[in-house]
């Protein structure tokens, strides 16, 4: 039986367009539900609060304030983008890298350790942070490939183990007065990432905008090229889509799984250093829970349609509303932004399945009914 489908020119049939529309719908759903919750908390200021979330830095009146808050959001978008790349890269290969949060923490720990403890220049700190994340990712990959350990659960366990280890690692470098690590610009200025020539001037010399921003975008493009145009990308995607066929073809699927997780881990670890080495944020003493950045990366990854370039926009958006959430009136808890992000992930799960169902419907149409077949 032949495929009698005639390709229709409707724009709605292009998968990319479908993904964008689906992502927008998820966002709307998240914002709507968030808005309802705000209404329930305090109807009076709800609209204004929602407005603040959506407009973030633009809610400020003075241009200088606007720019400085935009800069803040931009700086925080960088680690989020890296974490989302980490998640989407491994997802394309069929693995759910929830351990991105722990790889992120490992990056913080090792990066700051090299800065404070070994007085290393920023680029060494970054490379070591990346390697730390990669090592952690590789462990999850190894466990999956050799012992069939579910990478979600091993990821969570490693997240917590890492958290405690990093607390121990950075304990000697704590500024007792501030209850956090010392400010790099004061103690180890060589470890601070150089200022971004492009964004720095645009943003009136915003204190923390570094070349990390350009670097992150370049990396996103690089990941996209890796996935679509290289032999490695071909192998990794094949392994994720059908590991049996990959094995049949002679691809080393165990090795590829470990490599993929290592790359994912490296992205998250690198992202951590790209944030903490701007000196905008320090590591507090005795942190009790894994930082949210790794988990928000999941939201950004799916919202961006699991595409590296889409992730650039979705990461900015998620960070945008997260920061906006912090500017609301105090009666509204700032966690609402996290809540909205989580709803977006939930909605994205439906988006994925809609795409799957469309694919299956096409297949059912033309595949023969095989009377004697094992499924």
């Amino acid at each position: 039986m032949e495929n009698r489908k005639v390709s229709r020119p409707s724009i709605l049939r292009i998968p990319a367009v479908q993904t964008v529309i689906a992502s927008l719908l998820c966002v709307l759903a998240g914002l709507l539900i968030g808005f309802i919750v705000l209404l329930l908390i305090n109807p009076g200021g709800a609209t204004e609060a929602m407005g603040t979330i959506i407009s973030n830095f633009m809610s400020f009146k003075k241009a200088a304030k606007q720019i400085s808050n935009f800069g803040n959001t931009l700086v925080k978008t960088v680690p989020l983008l890296m974490c989302s790349l980490s998640v989407l890269f491994s997802y394309k290969v069929g693995l759910f890298n929830i351990g991105a949060a722990g790889q992120y923490v490992a990056g913080i720990g090792v990066g700051l350790f090299f800065a404070h403890g070994l007085n290393a220049p920023w680029w060494i700190c970054m490379i070591m942070a990346m390697l730390a994340g990669a090592a952690l990712g590789a462990i999850s990959g190894l466990l999956k490939a050799t012992r069939n350990v579910n990478e979600v659960i091993s990821g969570i366990m490693l997240n917590w183990i890492c958290l405690y280890l990093v607390n121990m690692l950075l304990a000697p470098y704590m500024d007792i007065k501030m209850n956090e690590t010392f400010a790099l610009k004061v103690t180890h200025p060589a470890a601070v990432i150089p200022e971004s020539p492009l964004f720095g001037s645009l943003l009136n010399g915003h204190k923390y905008t570094t070349i990390a921003v350009e670097l992150a975008i370049l990396i996103a493009v690089g990941i996209w090229i890796l996935m679509t145009k290289t032999k490695l990308g071909y192998e990794l995607r094949a392994t994720g889509l059908n590991k049996y066929a990959a094995r049949y073809s002679g691809m080393r699927d165990g090795f590829n799984i470990i490599l993929t997780m290592a790359i994912s881990g490296g992205l998250a670890g690198l992202g951590a250093s790209m944030f903490y080495l701007t000196d905008m944020i320090k590591w507090p003493m005795a942190v009790t829970s894994v930082p949210a950045m790794g988990f928000n990366g999941i939201a950004a990854a799916f919202l961006g349609g699991l595409h590296p370039l889409g992730a650039i926009f979705s990461s900015f958006f998620i960070q945008h509303i997260t920061d906006g959430g912090s500017f609301m009136e105090k009666i509204y808890p700032s966690e609402i932004a996290g809540f909205i992000s989580a709803i977006i992930i939930y909605m994205c799960a439906f988006v994925l399945l809609i795409k799957q169902q469309l694919g299956k419907a096409r297949m059912r149409r033309v595949t023969e009914k095989k009377g004697g077949e094992a499924k």
Binding site: V149, I331, P333, I345, A349
Partner: protein, 312 residues
């Protein structure tokens, strides 16, 4: 020593309840990664009940009300997984992760809102239920809770339902071979809903037990510190069988309690390990367990695969 036993029993009860819940869900064929979120919600339900019950209520009422509230909250929250996974056939891991993130955020938002509504100067996400909590204790001054007994009763009930009743047989068939179940007229959808709702009830109850363990108030922004995932490891270690889960829960509970009580043991003190090592122990043990037991997994064969009536 008594402290160690008390803590072990408490943590073991939590892990066992939640793991049993996960077990029912997975036996029906739905992977429930969202146990953390369910625990938080159940804890919230129970805490609210404790908070708003009039002071001096009879112990029986306190226990009953909070347990039922916790279970109800858990069941309600688990519907998010049920609808998405069963009716819409969404990716169960993704939905579960979203539920975990949503759970803590939603609970924090809710509690903060409630607190600020009562007192605008109190934007905290804490619920205090000090006096009501005493009703849980079997004897004044000792930290043995009625809830632990309840957990044991539920354990036996779970075993019985799973292996000795019609419901249990049908439930398991849905997780192993849903097409076979459907061919004899069993409604796979209904069974899976039941499985997920049971996991909601047990998970919610587990959440309640967790937050009332030895403390009189709970900061909801802390979530449940990864206990939902530890419970998953317990479930895998227990090979999806109730009594083995109980033993696994005891083991994990023991390690978890060590970080609270190691100062009371001279020989442990002498090892001079930093406190953080004890904090890490449960997670390290989990990892080791997973490494040893994931290879020849006895997991229900059809779990995680959405059931599609059209497929034969």
């Amino acid at each position: 020593m008594t402290l160690l036993i008390q803590y072990t029993l408490l943590f073991a009860s939590v892990l066992m309840l939640v793991a049993l819940g996960g077990c029912f869900s997975e036996h029906s064929g739905v992977i429930n990664i969202g146990l953390e979120g369910i625990m938080v919600f159940g804890a919230l339900g129970g805490a609210l009940a404790l908070r708003y019950l009039p002071d001096g209520s009879a112990a029986v009422i306190v226990i009953l009300a909070s347990v039922l509230a916790a279970m109800a909250a858990g069941i309600l929250y688990s519907m998010l997984l049920a609808v998405a996974a069963i009716n819409f056939k969404a990716d169960q891991t993704l939905v579960g992760t979203a539920m975990n993130l949503m759970g803590v955020a939603a609970a924090t938002v809710l509690v903060k809102a409630l607190n600020t509504a009562e007192n605008p100067n109190n934007p905290s996400a804490t619920i205090a239920y000090g006096s009501a909590r005493k009703s849980f204790l079997i004897a004044e001054g000792m930290e043995f809770s009625w809830l632990t007994l309840l957990a044991v009763v539920l354990l036996v009930l779970a075993w019985f339902v799973l292996y000795k009743t019609k419901f249990g047989l049908r439930l398991q068939s849905c997780g192993e071979h849903p097409q076979a179940a459907a061919s004899v007229g069993i409604s796979v959808y209904k069974m899976r809903y039941a499985g997920v709702m049971i996991s909601g009830a047990l998970g919610g109850l587990g959440g309640l037990v967790y937050i009332t363990a030895a403390v009189s108030e709970w900061k909801f922004e802390n979530g449940v510190a990864g206990f939902g995932f530890l419970a998953l490891a317990v479930m895998i270690f227990g090979a999806w069988k109730p009594f083995r889960i109980a033993l696994a829960a005891l083991l994990f509970g023991l390690f978890r309690s060590l970080s609270n009580v190691y100062t009371g043991f001279p020989f442990l003190e002498q090892l001079n390990l930093p406190g953080t090592v004890y904090n890490m122990m449960p997670y390290i043990i989990s990892l080791i367990v997973l490494i040893l037991f994931s290879k020849n997994s006895a997991a229900p064969k059809a779990e995680g695969i959405p059931y599609d009536q059209g497929s034969r």
